[in-house]
């Protein structure tokens, strides 16, 4: 048997992180919730693709020689040639085709003949619309804009709250069971904190990457890869911002939780940090058409991971903006971690009533 050698701070941090990850990966609730989350993403993409009509079977339409040209460019239509109007009408009456397109004197130039109702797609395809010229064209439609904002917002909020709560729980559990006294007799408090943040950040990032992967595969398989081209770069930025932003939030969750000694008491201390993680979501959902709000959001550290990728997707941010915002975020993360480590170290061994934040920052640890 070898002699023990005191592990360095990074080594101890690695062991703590490894334990945090194993504990999560083995817990049924984590596996189930991850599975459900991935399934929801996949289903919503597939349903989205279905709703947009790409998977509907072609409509059979009878044409006469005069109208064949009008339908040549219409997608989703299977053309049946009829020699004349009479033959076309018979095909419709017999139910062989869903509709017939015949010449007409009206402004549209064609007439759609159907039994009870005309196929929606067909009428829409033949509708004549005036030419529109936009002086300030938008890259994306209102719907997509909303969906993408919503997507970034909800993924960030769910991950931050989910893994943040895990960190908080594990911190309080260690205090409550007093295993923290055994742990601190072996490793410094900052290794515990760092390991906890690192382990859970890795999990959160892994889960987010899995969601991104499922989304990409889903989009490709359902033939919506044109959206992918628009989303690619913003998604990469989102993952980068997420990694840094989550570390910042994780530190706040751990420090807040270290102030109390029992799981039952975590509610009040976690409320402020929960708000911090939810505000970006509501802002981005309600103000995704307000440039000023989005711009401010994309620079405030707590909301930048949501705000900046949305602006990048909308094409509203210059190339240097994400870099500046990321620098601001990283600097605030370092500052917050230093403060959080202070609070954590000083509150960890104090049991009983809740430790006041100011007290934890001021007094010596005892």
């Amino acid at each position: 048997m070898s002699e023990p050698t005191t592990p360095s701070v990074p080594q101890a941090t690695g062991m703590v992180a490894e334990r945090e990850i194993l504990a999560q990966v083995r817990s049924r609730s984590f596996l189930v919730s991850t599975g459900v989350l991935l399934l929801v993403v996949l289903v919503s993409i597939v349903v989205g693709g279905f709703m947009s009509g790409r998977d509907q079977p072609d409509t059979t339409v009878a044409v006469v020689p005069q109208t064949a040209a009008a339908l040549a460019a219409v997608p989703g239509v299977e053309v049946v040639d009829a020699p004349d109007e009479q033959a076309a009408r018979v095909l419709v009456a017999d139910g062989d085709v869903a509709a017939a397109v015949l010449p007409d004197d009206g402004p549209a130039g064609v007439r759609v003949v159907a039994q009870r109702s005309a196929p929606d797609g067909l009428v829409a395809a033949l509708r004549v619309e005036p030419e529109v010229e936009l002086l300030q064209p938008q890259d994306s439609s209102e719907g997509v804009r909303y969906l993408v904002s919503f997507g970034f917002g909800i993924v960030f909020m769910m991950s931050a709250i989910g893994f943040g709560s895990t960190i908080a729980q594990s911190t309080v559990q260690e205090k409550q069971t007093r295993i923290v006294e055994i742990l601190l007799s072996a490793v410094p408090a900052r290794s515990l904190l760092a390991g906890k943040i690192l382990g859970n950040s890795a999990l959160a990032l892994g889960q987010t990457a899995a969601i991104a992967a499922v989304a990409v595969v889903g989009l490709v398989v359902t033939g919506q890869d044109d959206l992918l081209g628009l989303l690619g770069a913003p998604v990469v930025w989102f993952v980068v911002f997420f990694a840094v932003g989550f570390v910042l939030l994780a530190a706040v969750f751990a420090a807040s939780a270290s102030l109390v000694s029992r799981i039952e008491d975590t509610g009040p201390v976690l409320t402020p940090v929960m708000m911090l993680t939810m505000i970006p979501y509501f802002l981005v959902v309600f103000f995704n058409d307000n440039q000023t709000v989005l711009t401010v959001m994309s620079y405030v550290p707590f909301s930048a991971p949501v705000g900046m990728p949305v602006r990048l997707f909308l094409g509203e941010a210059a190339w240097w903006e994400p870099l500046v915002s990321l620098a601001v975020l990283a600097a605030s993360a370092v500052a917050v971690i230093v403060l959080a480590a202070r609070v954590y170290e000083r509150s960890l061994l104090r049991t009983g009533p809740r430790v006041r934040l100011a007290e934890a920052l001021r007094t010596r640890g005892d």
Partner: protein, 300 residues
């Protein structure tokens, strides 16, 4: 040798430890005895560095305790704590790794210790699925798994059945025999009496007595003698310098100094056959009461 000198600590103006000094010698099991709230746990937490002392020092072989030295301590806190959902062997191996053992080595140690403590079958189970007695054994294992140079255990025997007490005592005695100072607190005085070599008695945050078990026994309650005669021993009541504690026909327990006791023995032989005569060794419970009450009267 682990030495405490003049350790004091107050919580919110209330002094819970007052000038606490005692030694835990190598190779000996030292029992730390006191009532609820006497200061046992606070003292142990200060030794471990989990709590800071307001005054006084704790030294190991004359050197003040620092981080690296304390990392070689094994500690069992009063509130039992292990990760409830983590498997027993893995948890012990994790603690051993945090203390610097290699992964494989750590796991080997964990299993060896679980075997020794009779938990082999439960090694792969989550801690929360174990009975309270078995959780307690796992907790003892957690204090021992990194081969500590000093052991500090807060109530290691509470909640253990007599068989488990024997197993744990055996393990602690092995460690002590290897030269490890072992300090454990308990309020089960009979257990402490049976197994510890040295005793420290604390009450109201002050050390009331400390020393080897035999020293304490001779220092307290040694003035008692027991006499068993064939005839009635009622005459003892009239002997000068004798205070009868217990009397039933020919059997009597009395307090007297040694010279008086010898005189009483001769007197008894003059009256008839004496079946037995000798000093009565005070039980720890008696010593404890005597020590604690004495001091309370003295301070009044």
């Amino acid at each position: 040798m682990l030495q405490l000198d003049g350790v004091s600590r107050s919580f919110g103006g209330r002094r819970v430890l007052d000038d606490v000094s005692f030694a835990v010698r190598r190779g000996r099991l030292t029992g730390f005895v006191g009532g609820n709230g006497a200061g046992k746990t606070t003292t142990m937490r200060i030794v471990l560095g989990v709590l800071a002392a307001d005054a006084g020092t704790v030294t190991m072989d004359g050197a003040p305790l620092d981080g690296p030295t304390r990392r070689r301590f094994g500690y069992m806190p009063e509130e039992r704590g292990l990760y409830p959902k983590m498997r027993v062997a893995e948890q012990l191996a994790y603690l051993a790794r945090l203390h610097g053992f290699e992964r494989a080595d750590a796991l080997e140690r964990a299993h060896a210790l679980l075997d020794r403590l009779g938990l082999r079958e439960r090694a792969g189970d989550p801690v929360e699925s174990l009975s309270l007695g078995n959780q307690q054994r796992a907790q003892v294992a957690a204090a021992l798994v990194h081969d500590p140079a000093v052991l500090v255990l807060d109530e290691p025997f509470s909640g253990l059945d007599p068989m488990a007490v024997d197993v744990v005592v055996g393990v602690l005695a092995e460690r002590a025999a290897r030269g490890v100072p072992v300090l454990f607190s308990s309020h089960q005085l009979d257990v402490v009496e049976r197994l510890c070599d040295d005793l420290v008695i604390i009450a109201g945050g002050r050390i009331r007595a400390a020393g080897s078990r035999d020293e304490l026994r001779s220092a307290y309650g040694s003035a008692r003698h027991e006499l068993v005669t064939l005839g009635d021993a009622g005459w003892l009541r009239d002997e000068p310098g004798v205070r009868v504690v217990e009397l039933a026909a020919g059997q009597a327990v009395f307090e007297a100094d040694d010279a008086t006791a010898q005189r009483v023995l001769r007197a008894a032989l003059d009256r008839g056959p004496v079946q037995s005569f000798g000093p009565v060794r005070a039980s720890l419970a008696e010593i404890f009461r005597e020590v604690v009450e004495d001091r309370q009267e003295a301070t009044r």
